[in-house]
Symmetry: C2
Subunit: 359 residues, 2 copies
């Protein structure tokens, strides 16, 4: 079958062996698969991905020297069953799944495995036990958005939103947009969204953000007081003493490049809860003294639970999340190398979807 | 009156004008006052202290170019009353107070004010409304420990201890010892204490730590599994799936020098809550990617509430906290310059108490 393969530090299109479903596994025709920022990073830093595996405790870490087929944001058509399967779904069913696959050697992460190809290929094997049938006639392309939007669902679940009157989302790439969507799916708000790119700001608005800020024009932290959130601890203390119940700023860091956290530390109100959702893989520098004086909280978020993934699929299929606008391009496998080159420079692309059946 | 004065970047003993209590204020004879690590820092970096004032929202920041008398960990004998005072306490009463003083220009921090001398002087003025009478015949020296121990009370109040089976205190200087005392005053535990200095480890044990670790011999993170706390997210997930309720590691960072946080990020179990209590005034560097993969939480802690301060005084006076062992030296005002020099090099000193009445 055809696949866009990570080979060394490049993406190349080539033929690879068809995967064969083992016990408890199914064969799927990949219908759609998103390109994730983590994939762009992993082309060059497979060793760091392997290190994260070790930290999280997932076995079968990828080897940088061996070919790998990315793709962990996928949907597909059920084709066939391996041995020891329950076969509750019918061939032809449109499915998605958390990108985890079990075999005798333990868990594999679909999309970062040297052994099992991810969604950048015409076919994949998946664990039958983890399949979710795509409901409500949702399209394959939009079903493939379940995974990136589940990241937002998880981050919002980790936030202390009941203490908040307003939430700020810093960065409106796929992660920030997923957070905005998850906040609005739960009717939280006002949601303030900040991004330097006009196209991303427009998408933030499409996904329901209530206030859109261009950080080159003004700091997104200028308006907290408008939402009943005092800036300093002294002001907070005075509000409490006067019998008011001040809100708490909730800030989602969805950029993931060095320096963003320090800017938030400098500008955020006292007692802010900062959900760190953007994955910064380089060392970062900040001033703990300021974070202490403000009594900030950093909560680092990663992935999602199976329940959050399933809830996200329902949210998209039932219209609580309008995922469609984040898809900025749809391409075939042969265009994946060019897409990686294009995404290396920040621009207006948000989510590029690979459809392996495209010519 | 005599005082140990911060003048430029030195401490000098000299005569200064006696303070005169204004409206709502009282005059106190300083009985005892601790030297705090923040004072050692502030001799050279008054500008950074002023910056923290601005962040917290406290007015009347100190000016590096003007003389200042440190001392915010004090007890004293009530001598006299200014105008517009209620005079409920009698002259001769032993008192302490949160180091805050109000006048028409707003709040001043006692010990970091160019206008009001702190406890490194024979006499001070304090706000009558903030006075706490020292109960139970507690000595002046031990009453002066209320302030540093209140820091521990606050940090423990900010920790998610109900989710924890064990707590680790990294660094057993005055801050770490205060945390240990506050944990044990609430009967939390086991409390694991780690410090490179043998004397500080002995003090940690005196204050009730259950497990004492020399980090030069083994990592304090080696034993989490003994307390039912899984190391990786995958292990945590498996425990949950098997119907167990895994504990969560609670870690108090009480060192406050660059690099300590990164070591904790590298070694701590997944989902650890890290209370950052040691005040690191320099920029620090860490790897967010690891913190994300582990879903760590940093909660930065600063100061205490008036209630926590009062509770700490009761804890010491009623024997729930044995504060006495932390006092490693008692000196007069003329020895303060030498004490600052001695404390500049880490050693076995923990809390040096100034008694201005000593020759």
């Amino acid at each position: 079958m055809r696949a866009a393969i990570k080979r060394g530090t490049r993406i190349v299109c080539d033929e690879i062996a068809d995967p064969v479903p083992g016990p408890g596994q199914v064969l799927v025709r990949t219908a759609a698969c998103g390109i994730c920022g983590s994939d762009l990073h992993a082309v060059h830093h497979t060793d760091l991905v392997a290190r994260l595996y070790q930290i999280v405790g997932v076995p079968n870490a990828p080897n940088p020297g061996i070919d790998m087929v990315f793709g962990h944001e996928f949907s597909g058509e059920l084709l066939d069953f391996g041995p020891a399967t329950e076969r509750k779904l019918k061939p032809g069913a449109l499915v998605t799944s958390v990108p985890r696959l079990n075999d005798v050697s333990g868990t594999h992460v679909v999309g970062y495995s040297n052994r099992f190809p991810g969604g950048y290929a015409e076919r994949m094997v998946l664990s039958e036990a983890m399949l979710l049938e795509v409901p409500n006639g949702l399209s394959a392309v939009h079903a493939a958005l379940t995974e990136p939007f589940a990241v937002g669902e998880h981050a919002v679940a980790m936030a202390d939103m009941q203490a908040a009157t307003a939430a700020l989302v810093v960065g409106c790439g796929p992660v920030g947009l997923a957070v905005i969507a998850a906040l609005k799916a739960r009717s939280f708000g006002p949601v303030i969204a900040a991004d330097f790119a006009p196209g991303r700001r427009r998408l933030a608005e499409r996904l329901g953000a209530d206030v859109i800020i261009d950080p080159s024009e003004k700091s997104p932290h200028q308006s907290w007081q408008d939402y009943g959130i005092p800036i300093t601890r002294a002001d907070r203390g005075q509000m409490l003493a006067a019998g008011h119940k001040p809100g708490r700023a909730i800030i989602f860091e969805c950029v993931g490049v060095p320096g963003v956290l320090q800017t938030i530390v400098e500008e955020a109100p006292s007692t802010s809860q900062i959900l760190v959702v953007g994955v910064c893989m380089e060392p970062d520098r900040f001033e703990p003294g300021i974070a202490i004086a403000k009594e900030l909280e950093f909560r680092f978020c990663y992935g999602y639970t199976a329940d959050e993934f399933a809830q996200t699929l329902r949210n998209i299929a039932e219209g609580r999340i309008d995922a469609a606008p984040v898809v900025t391009s749809r391409i075939g496998l042969s265009s994946v190398p060019d897409a990686f080159a294009a995404l290396a420079t920040p621009g207006e692309e948000v989510k590029i979807i690979i459809e392996p059946s495209r010519p």
